[in-house]
Symmetry: D2
Subunit: 120 residues, 4 copies
């Protein structure tokens, strides 16, 4: 998944605002489902992030074209852990792990099979 | 209503990103209701913006403390027009008019009396 | 230019937050330059938005894939006006005109020829 | 420091978008300096986030009024670690630690004394 850096992503430090790397990772996670014609979000059922552990290695700047790489590392019935890395060409800019839980009516719930299978 | 400019509001041009002035105006509109112990948003009922006409006069920068002034100019049963101005001290930075419609289940609906009265 | 709607773009009304349509239009304007190997932003020179006139016709929702169409309508030496429309398939969701001025060291300045030519 | 939750902070899941808690923590960190008449950002000198470790405990919703509590836990000459917690009344919603480095011309640099003293 490719991400272009626009004005909205940058800040007065002339680099990408730190919280926005989490947006880029979320886009890549949602796109995993969209690409299969599925949605990670139904009326009252969806994934929520429970934990984030992130390292900021180098900064992205306006106009950059970044790659987000995603890997599932832990897969349980109601939660998963994904490792995601953001590169500019071969240069690692950001890496993070995300623990996600699946909720139905705001309570933990088994991940539906069709969504679970996306991670195979 | 006062708005502080943080990193998230700025961009690589070292000024506030242009779409964010619309956020500041929206905060001031919501705060009109919050200050009276009301909410502009119920389950399936809320205001939506239908039109915006905005002039950008001067730019705000990181650390600025801005004032948002709001005035109702047109008040109909299902829609209103508000004029909002953003100042840094006595200096006008931004002015805009917003046409808002009230929706229930995504259809136009009369504004409930308790919300309507906030504009008195 | 295509825009996917992600979580970050939506709000509690379950539709796209109104200020974000301005972000989508800005992405399309920047991409006009990126596609030609140019940047709309140099150290102390860049376009700023002076006026916005926007109509919100229908709402976009999570997962939508939108098209942004851009047309130059007025072209002066130091400012331009663009009309931009956002569609979901054949359905018009949003239309707006944007007056942009070119600044150098925060003062109005003639648009450089290589950027000006992008609008031919 | 108090944070009100507006439309812009929420998403289609009807809760606050996960990356926005990082914005709230950053606002509180910047405000530490603003309250003393200082700025955490000079021309080419500023703090950048190097690491984030975050736990999402409960979700904030539209209209909430949150408290951000900040504590310095590690203080070195060129970097610090802060622990920040976000509460709604007595209820913990979010907790995170942030490792921040000070940069000058994009290189690690000793934190200036006047900024360093803010953490006393």
């Amino acid at each position: 998944m490719q991400i272009r850096i626009y004005y909205e992503d940058t800040d007065v430090g002339r680099v990408v605002y730190y919280a926005n790397y989490l947006k880029f990772c979320e886009r890549a996670r949602s796109e995993l489902f969209f690409q299969k014609g599925l949605s990670p979000h139904k009326e009252n059922e969806f994934f929520v992030v429970k934990e984030v552990h992130a390292n900021y290695v180098k900064s992205a700047v306006f106009g950059d074209l970044l790659d987000v790489q995603s890997k599932l590392t832990i897969k349980k019935s109601a939660s998963i852990v994904m490792e995601q890395k953001i590169y500019r060409d071969d240069e690692l800019l950001f890496e993070a792990s995300f623990k996600l839980a699946y909720l139905k009516d705001y309570r933990p719930c088994k991940i539906p099979k069709e969504l679970f299978d996306v991670f195979e």
